[in-house]
């Protein structure tokens, strides 16, 4: 109903998807502003891939609507969107260059132009000598790079990447990060899902956190961190810990070498410090914590979501 609005590259309204009795995505609203890098975060089985598949039209939502650039997604998708699915498929028998030219061609890139772009991308990703090799002769990681090139060969306005970093070594993860930033600086919108918080933390301007089919967090990453910064104090000390508790402190978490104090809204952390001094505790450290996305993730997603994976979303790999 609000598809006439622009400003959003992707917009989901009240989207629900069920598989049998299980609800994979529940009443999800999602707005990806144009020209922004957004991260779709969540534990395994939380509904990230299902959400992306609905955006890509591979699954149809049972309820709600999806729009891309404020118009009919089916038409927009074919030319304006580059999609890297989580399960990477290739034509194994094709030569890399031909494969890439083909992927460009079906989205309207003329063959000569496709070839030029493919070659320059192969060069950039360090695979120029593989152009005439069959895709099946490449290692998994190299195939993934080929696939990434295939995703961007038509210079899409919106990139949708499902777990783009999994399967890449740290060097190539950095290369990919840099490429994503490049696209951003050229005005491309990027939405990627990941369970690797480091990348999300470095790249994202906006994060969506999904847990157990529900969106639990939807925020500008910088604002989120700023607001979280007020709330947590890292303390290391020797002596009595009785001074820690007080009206300002909501919760005390034990961490390696000390504690984290989770404060109540608007609480004055200086009051705690004063109490500590009065209690003659030997205070080694008293820090306002720059909250890591990792911690925010864990706090919002909740430990109870672990092992709730009913969906084939993320294949193995390190859990954040």
């Amino acid at each position: 109903m609000t598809t006439g609005e622009n400003g959003f590259a992707v917009r989901l309204e009240g989207v629900t998807k069920r598989f049998g009795k299980r609800t994979a995505v529940s009443n999800l609203d999602l707005e990806v502003p144009k020209g922004v890098i957004c991260g779709l975060l969540g534990p395994n089985g939380s509904g990230k891939t299902t959400t992306i598949r609905m955006i890509m039209g591979i699954l149809r939502p049972d309820e709600g609507s999806v729009s891309l650039f404020g118009s009919d997604p089916d038409v927009t998708r074919r030319t304006k969107v580059g999609y890297l699915p989580e399960e990477r498929g290739v034509y194994k028998k094709m030569k890399c260059l031909e494969f890439l030219v083909f992927l460009g061609e079906i989205r309207g890139v003329p063959r000569a132009e496709g070839k030029r772009r493919a070659l320059s991308w192969l060069e950039r990703l360090g695979l120029p000598e593989w152009a005439d090799k069959r895709v099946e002769d490449l290692s998994k990681g190299m195939q993934q790079k080929i696939q990434f090139i295939g995703t961007v060969i038509h210079e899409p306005e919106l990139l949708i990447l499902d777990e783009p970093f999994s399967g890449l070594d740290p060097i190539n993860q950095d290369v990919l990060e840099e490429i994503v930033r490049d696209f951003r600086s050229k005005g491309t919108t990027v939405l990627f899902s990941t369970h690797l918080m480091d990348h999300a933390e470095r790249l994202c301007e906006r994060v969506f956190l999904i847990s157990k089919a529900h969106k639990v967090l939807d925020a500008d990453l910088r604002e989120l961190k700023a607001s979280e910064r007020k709330g947590v104090v890292a303390v290391e000390f020797r002596g009595s810990d009785r001074w820690l508790a007080g009206p300002e402190v909501k919760r005390i978490e034990q961490v390696n070498g000390g504690v984290h104090l989770i404060l109540n809204e608007g609480a004055d952390h200086q009051a705690i410090l004063r109490r500590g001094v009065e209690a003659r505790a030997e205070i080694l450290r008293f820090d306002l914590v720059e909250p890591r996305l990792h911690d925010i993730f864990v706090r919002y997603a909740g430990a109870d979501s672990v092992g709730d994976a009913g969906m084939p979303t993320t294949a193995g790999g390190a859990r954040a």
Binding site: R53, G57, R78, E87, G89, E98, G150
Partner: protein, 415 residues
């Protein structure tokens, strides 16, 4: 707008397949190898020295040479007569050893009575040569014997004549050509099945490798399916065309060349008589194209609804029934091409490519029925495209268990 990406799929499918070793082997090397197996031995044999083909005939009976000579000449021998003398065997043996002649035959009274004769040659001749020689001699002896008893041997020997009077004009004018009808039907069955299954496999492979998610996000499922079918169809047409062309080459150039080299193989001239003409060949290709479009559409939807080869093997069984049934029925249809059962069965679109072909080729189908079958097949292609396109669209992105029939129907309705 829709065509560039369909064209890209067609192009990819075609080039990938045509470049594959198996295609090249099957298309080019196969028939070539067959032709070589057929032609080379004959050619080699025909290259033997002239002297070998020159034989002397010693006719002690005095009545057989006149009959035998023309027969052997058309069979590719150079013959001349040698008068009988008591030492003729010794004299001619010397000439054989001098490689002046390739051998000699001695005919005598016993030959006249029983057909027995003696052939003197330096090395054992091929079975074919012995046979042609023997039959020529026994024929000469037989003719001679019949003539002595006052019978017109030539007329009877040439096989008489069976005039065929067709009482109803329903069966067209062409001669019945059983071989063309039967083998053509079988060939159609094979090629349609092979390539329809190829479409299914390609679809399944795209689905299981998940490449389809990327492709489908870039084009309509229906366009992908169309491109796939057209691409594989173009490959099959290429193959059929190469086969037909090499067959035609063999028939128009190969067989006459062989016959020129080895006139004793005159019997093979009959092959040329039964070969189908251009009209029949065009019909063959048309039946193939429509048959392929019908079955490949159905097979594509089977590929789209399955998740593994094993599943697909099972799911295609109903289709196999439809494509095998006409092959089982083809014999009765050829034997009685004008019966109402033959007519009815051959008008059923899924059976038409094989059964209507069999009727046309065996001369039992009036033009209007052929035309009607093409109209019905064209309608079937449209219906199948509609149906299969909808199943394909839903199935290609669906994982999990294979759909039941009611589920399939829901896909078709909701797509």
């Amino acid at each position: 707008m829709m065509w560039p990406n369909v064209w890209a799929v067609v192009r990819r499918e075609y080039l990938q397949r045509v470049r594959s070793k198996w295609f090249i082997f099957g298309t080019v090397a196969g028939p070539l190898l067959m032709a070589l197996l057929f032609v080379v031995p004959i050619y080699m044999a025909s290259r033997s020295e002239d002297a070998e083909r020159t034989i002397a005939i010693v006719d002690a009976s005095g009545v057989l040479y006149e009959r035998l000579a023309p027969e052997l000449e058309t069979g590719g021998w150079n013959v001349h007569s040698e008068p009988w003398t008591s030492d003729v065997v010794a004299v001619l043996t010397e000439r054989v050893e001098a490689e002046d002649i390739g051998g000699f035959v001695v005919l005598d009274e016993r030959t006249v009575e029983t057909g027995e004769a003696v052939l003197y040659v330096p090395t054992r001749p091929s079975a074919l040569r012995t046979l042609t020689l023997r039959s020529a001699i026994s024929r000469a002896a037989l003719e001679n014997a019949l003539e002595r008893s006052g019978v017109d041997a030539d007329a009877i020997m040439s096989g008489g004549e069976l005039r065929v009077e067709v009482l109803s004009d329903a069966s067209g004018t062409e001669d019945p050509r059983f071989v063309v009808a039967y083998f053509g039907a079988f060939f159609l069955y094979m090629v349609i099945l092979i390539y329809a299954v190829a479409v299914m496999r390609a679809t399944l492979e795209e689905k299981t490798s998940r490449i389809v998610e990327v492709i489908i996000s870039s084009m309509k499922p229906w366009h992908l399916m169309l491109g796939k079918i057209v691409g594989v169809g173009a490959v099959s047409l290429t193959q059929v065309a190469v086969w037909l062309a090499s067959g035609a080459l063999l028939a128009t150039a190969g067989i006459p060349a062989i016959l020129a080299a080895r006139p004793e193989l005159g019997g093979f001239e009959q092959i040329a008589d039964v070969l189908p003409g251009v009209g029949l060949l065009s019909l063959f290709v048309a039946f193939f194209v429509l048959g392929f479009f019908m079955y490949s559409g159905l097979y594509a939807s089977v590929g789209a609804m399955c998740n593994s080869d094993e599943e697909a093997q099972q799911a295609q069984v109903p289709l196999v029934v439809f494509i095998v049934a006409p092959i089982i029925l083809v014999m009765p249809v050829i034997q009685d091409p004008t019966s109402s059962m033959s007519t009815g069965l051959s008008l059923f679109p899924l059976f038409s490519p094989i059964l209507m072909w069999a009727r046309v080729a065996s001369g039992g189908a009036p033009a209007w029925q052929v035309a009607l079958s093409f109209v019905l097949m064209a309608l079937a292609v449209i219906a199948i495209a509609w149906l299969a396109g909808r199943i394909y669209k839903t199935g290609i992105l669906m994982t999990g268990k294979r759909p039941t029939l009611p589920e399939l129907w829901r896909w078709v309705r909701e797509a």
